[in-house]
């Protein structure tokens, strides 16, 4: 695949030090890193996708369940819970990182688990970040759902759990949109991955932390390669989200 790519002509631009040349050269180098399957780029991408997917899986379990409870049950303090969930949507990632760090650091209450600077710690932080997003989207989907679904399920003999599952099935596009929005939130964050993962090369380095680090080291092309991939993922996520919201 790479044999057919010849950048030699364009590399002749090297030595010309205009800002446009710098950007062009960096872009070409970034494309070369992507198309020559640079191992470091792809390990970083894999780590990002892995921790984000796992976090979204856990956040979906908690977020959709919480969304179903808050969206369908009427209880004292419900408005307060919704306001809290809305507030948590805008939670700064570094704050999540900071709180988790406090718990996971050696002198913290969960320090004995030895999770700090591991992918598990990143997954934990990202799960906390994505759960309110998924819960809120689920509540939104439920509020737009047909009010006849639950009575219909009940009159057909469904119990509480069966009714909730049916409801989830009927709002499946909204629930999928919730999951995708959660994924969009975690794949692009940097604070949690940096503070809880430690940006360890080949282990906990994600796309966002690698972009921040490599760019500060002057490796702009490497950062750009990951940036291109990150943008592609973000684009796919948003396309899927739009597609689902139209259904």
């Amino acid at each position: 695949m790479t044999a057919g790519l010849d950048f030699s002509g364009l590399y002749a631009l090297q030595g010309i030090n205009t800002p446009v040349d710098f950007l062009c050269e960096s872009l070409l180098q970034a494309l070369r890193l992507i198309f020559t399957y640079d191992p470091e780029v792809y390990v970083t991408i894999w780590t990002s996708l892995k921790v984000s997917s796992l976090a979204v899986l856990f956040a979906s379990l908690f977020g959709i369940s919480a969304g179903l409870v808050v969206g369908t049950c009427r209880f004292a303090g419900r408005r307060l819970v919704i306001t809290l969930l809305n507030t948590l949507m805008a939670l700064p990632t570094v704050v999540v990182g900071l709180v988790c760090y406090g718990f996971l650091s050696r002198s913290g209450p969960l320090g004995h688990l030895g999770l700090l600077f591991t992918n598990q710690a990143v997954v934990l932080g990202l799960t906390i970040l994505a759960t309110p997003v998924i819960a809120n989207y689920t509540i939104g989907a439920l509020s737009a759902a047909d009010g006849r679904i639950l009575p219909t399920a009940q009159t057909l003999g469904a119990g509480s759990v069966q009714s909730a599952l049916l409801l989830l099935q009927e709002i499946r596009f909204g629930a999928m949109a919730a999951v995708i929005a959660g994924f969009g939130r975690v794949i692009a964050e940097v604070g949690i991955a940096m503070m809880l993962g430690g940006n360890i090369r080949g282990l906990t380095r994600t796309m966002t932390t690698a972009i921040a680090l490599e760019t500060s080291k002057g490796e702009f092309a490497f950062g750009l390669a990951l940036g291109i991939f990150l943008m592609t993922v973000a684009l796919i996520v948003n396309l899927l989200l739009n597609l689902l919201q139209q259904r």
């Binding site: 009575p151 219909t152 009159t155 119990g159």
Partner: protein, 216 residues
């Protein structure tokens, strides 16, 4: 004979507004009842209470002589014998077959039996060949027939119909009327709210007239 449903001093109000106030009312098994009265007279509220979807503000409801305690497990048990078809029924965004099979799956009925029952009921309601059609894409009359078929498949003791023809055009009403003999052949109690003045007579049903939430 023990009444199927007995209402004693049943009262339902919303924000202080009385929606239903019935001192004494009994529904006997195997009979057909028509609830008649103007809009807002409490017909739907009464049906929702009988379907155990709405808890009365005060009073006691008995099913087969036993008081309803409004506990979750007990409600589910009785709901499996009583089925309500709403005024504008909700059909799931799936095939007709899925809609029909849903209640049977909940009751653990074997798939082969589900298939046989579905074939039979679709023939009864005149929808043979509709199994794989998307239920939400059917006409109003067809959707109403699917909803009734879905209820009948569960072989309930009581079928509650909330103004089944109110949102229908003439053609759909004719389709529904053609279904009435089928309903009457089933060994069940039917309680329906209706706007059609001649329908109770055609059904040969007992008429329960209501106004302002009370029996008249």
């Amino acid at each position: 004979m023990t009444p199927l449903f007995s209402l004693r001093k049943i009262h339902k109000s919303y924000n202080g507004q009385v929606a239903l106030s019935i001192n004494k009312l009994d529904f006997m098994p195997g009979c057909i009842y028509s609830l008649v009265g103007p809009n807002g007279c409490g017909k739907s509220t009464l049906l929702q209470i009988l379907a155990l979807l709405l808890k009365p503000t005060a009073g006691e409801l008995f099913y087969r002589g036993r008081p309803i305690a409004w506990r979750r497990r007990e409600l589910q048990k009785v709901r499996r014998e009583v089925t309500l078809v709403h005024q504008s029924p909700y059909l799931f965004h799936r095939s007709v077959r899925y809609n029909l099979a849903y209640g049977m799956k909940l009751r653990g009925i074997a798939e082969t039996e589900q298939g046989e029952r579905i074939d039979h009921i679709l023939e009864l309601v005149g929808l043979t060949g509709f199994e794989d059609r998307n239920a939400r894409e059917l006409s109003g009359g067809e959707q109403q027939r699917v909803a009734i078929a879905r209820a009948l498949l569960l072989r309930p003791q009581v079928l509650l119909l909330d103004e089944p023809t109110s949102n229908m055009d003439k053609k759909s009403i004719d389709e529904f009327d053609a279904l009435l003999p089928v309903l009457m052949e089933q060994d069940l109690t039917i309680i329906q709210a209706t706007h059609q003045p001649d329908q109770p007579q055609r059904l040969g049903s007992a008429i329960i007239a209501m106004d302002l939430g009370r029996l008249v």
